[in-house]
């Protein structure tokens, strides 16, 4: 065990910090759930890509830097410290990307990964369906083989940024007689095919965030099949593992929120606003929990670099970060007092910042990527070994 960085890691941090200071936008971009914000975020991704920081841990040939996961963590820390924009192609680069690396053919890798790294092509996911939410094995949308195409019919939902994305990946039932986890295949589909209709859904803050995607005899070439036909569930599970795991929820995100919370607390006390006596401890405890998440991630990365694997442990992470994120935002809002409900544009909003929007986002944490109830089942059954039934 050695918790100090190597000279190389420090040098990389220095380089990333300098580059981000020079290049990160000084003002927040418009939300990437809007058309204009989506394009602005793509522009930023191009800058990142040009700077060589788009996909730090990917191989150079796919537009990455060929660094290891520890450098990825360092980069994320610097990225959040710089307050750089959210990653508009997160579903592509963090979810699908690793899956293509594991299951893709050489042609698929060459075709998809570089354009993903540069965000020339932005991806959305097509997992859920109206009747397949927590119960993902209930997928009904079919992709029936017809010569060298699959013909897709059905409906996907909760596709983030589905209205602007260029490609969709998801699970489809390629064996119409199959049940549950069998007979599903993992298919990649461009969003501009005839027969595809996208209907945006607003999230609870009234902003568009995800979409329903309807398929009406949509023809997708068979070479867009990722992994073996009928084995889509296993391919998807690898992706779900990544999603719940490391890359999308880098510890720097929560440490950054915790640091902002500490600053908000200190500022609130300094200006003499009323603060509950227990707030001091509760804020410190959030900071401590964010720290635990960071430490735990470094443990996981050390394990991975030592040849280990992430399994059901990802479910532990999901519960921990999602509950921490809500807790931190609740405290932030409590510290804002009567101003907590004001929209950022309100004249009296002053420095309320984005705690409210952050809270609304945090509220989705225990729901998406497998509800926390599903995660608890997984922990109980696969980690603790309690009986399924």
């Amino acid at each position: 065990m050695d918790l100090t960085y190597t000279a190389e890691q420090d040098a990389f941090r220095k380089e990333a910090r300098a580059w981000l200071e020079a290049n990160a936008p000084s003002a927040p971009l418009a939300s990437f759930d809007t058309k204009a914000g989506f394009e602005a975020h793509r522009e930023w991704e191009k800058t990142l890509h040009a700077g060589g920081f788009a996909m730090v841990p990917w191989p150079v040939e796919y537009g990455g830097r060929g660094a290891d996961l520890l450098e990825w963590l360092v980069f994320e820390e610097e990225y959040y410290r710089a307050g750089a924009p959210g990653r508009v192609n997160q579903n592509g680069i963090f979810l699908l990307g690793p899956t293509i690396m594991e299951y893709g053919t050489p042609e698929q890798k060459a075709r998809f990964l570089p354009k993903m790294a540069s965000s020339e092509e932005v991806w959305c996911q097509g997992w859920s369906e109206p009747n397949a939410g927590s119960d993902m094995a209930a997928i009904q949308t079919t992709a029936v083989r017809d010569g060298d195409h699959f013909v897709i019919n059905g409906q996907k939902t909760w596709a983030s940024r589905g209205a602007y994305a260029h490609w969709l990946f998801g699970l489809f039932r390629t064996d119409p007689d199959s049940k549950r986890h069998k007979g599903l295949s993992f298919i990649l589909a461009p969003m501009d095919l005839p027969g595809m209709t996208v209907r945006p859904i607003q999230k609870i803050n009234g902003k568009a965030a995800f979409s329903e995607v309807f398929f009406d005899d949509v023809r997708v070439p068979v070479e867009n099949l990722l992994g073996p036909e009928g084995e889509g569930w296993n391919v998807a599970m690898a992706t779900a593992g990544f999603e719940r795991g490391l890359m999308l929820r880098s510890p720097a995100r929560f440490q950054s929120t915790a640091n902002r919370l500490v600053r908000l607390y200190r500022k609130t006390v300094e200006r003499g606003a009323p603060v509950a006596p227990g707030m001091r401890e509760r804020v410190a405890r959030c900071w401590m929990d964010a720290e635990a998440y960071s430490l735990n991630t470094y443990q996981t990365v050390s394990k991975l670099l030592g040849g280990g694997k992430i399994g059901a442990e990802a479910s532990l992470n999901k519960i921990f970060w999602s509950e921490l994120d809500m807790r931190m935002h609740e405290l932030g809002l409590e510290l804002l007092g009567p101003r907590a409900e004001l929209l950022p544009g309100a004249p009296a909003a002053g420095d309320v910042g984005d705690w409210l929007d952050g809270y609304i986002f945090a509220l989705s944490g225990p729901i998406y990527a497998g509800t926390n109830q599903i995660q608890r089942n997984i922990i109980a059954e696969r980690i603790l070994g309690l009986p399924r039934k």
Binding site: S128, N131, G133, S134, D135, A138, T157, W158, I201, Q202, K203, I204, N205, G206, P274, V275, A276, P277, M326, E334, G337, P338, R339, A340, E341, L342, L343, G345, A346, P347, A348, A349, L356, L363, S364, P366, I367, Y368, T371, N372, Q373, R376
Partner: protein, 349 residues
Amino acid sequence: MDFDFNEDQRLLQQALRDFLAGECPPAWVRAQWETDTGRDGPFWKRLAEVGVPGLLVPEAQGGLGMDETDLALLLEETGRAGLAEPVVATSVGVALLRELSGDLAAEWLPKVASGDARLAVGHAGSPFVADAHVADLLFLANEGALHAVPAAQVRIEAQPSVDGSQRLFLVGFDVGEPVAEGDLAQALLDAALDRGAFCSAAEALGVADRLIELAVEYATQREQFGVAIGSFQAVKHMLADVKVELEYARSHVYRAAHSVATAAPTRAVDVSMAKLAACDAANAAAKISLQVHGAIGYTYEQDVHVWMKRAWSLDLAYGDSVFHRGRLCAGVIDQTIPAFAFGYQPLNP
């Protein structure tokens, strides 16, 4: 000693529930979010016809001459319906008018009872005044004095809230002759804050109830893994826990109604307990209802967020939780304001 409502009170509650279910469905509530004022004058007149704004107005002035123990059950219904009209602010204003009496009361109370006037009240619990944009008369504090200011004499600046039902304003006015000063003004302002906090707590009960109802309904019809999700113990236990929280909050709110109506010495602490308990229950119900609904609940088109945001804004109305926890501690720990365990009161002499 009788800690229960009588049949008339229950009937009035049921009547209002039916009325609002018919007249003020979720689609109507949501439509109000989109209008300029978020308030509906003609609907306010109809509310007056069923007696809501005039409930606290003495019968002599055309009201029902009832008190807060009657009002509690009705506010649960406005909360349940998500009604955005200024029932709370007007009720608080009516009580001020009653206390002030004289010409001011004689002029305004009948107008409130008939639905021809709405009131707004500024108080120490918030820098903002709710519903200042539609109030005909505003009670505003300035340097310890209480002023009754007609709408024409105020300047307002809208402060948009995440809750589309909540309309908040910063308000300025040209200071004229106050209606009360010194200790009297302070007592009136304190009572206004307590009354408003109690009213908000009562609405929060209805909000919590509605959020639980929505979750139970959804969990009963939504199937995953071949069964209704409401049959999963995880869902059951989450909802059971918030139901427990709600029912004990209810006890605090009903007691606060009595304490406000009778100006009990423990009023401040009783109201703070009610506000804390009810708003915590509503916030918990919001989180759990959202969780039970899953992604569907996270969409704008579903109703969960409407009541969730009501829960959030009620939590901040008439003193946020920091304010009320402070008063609770002042009563229970510091014992600088009266708080004594129910049933443990000193014997009457």
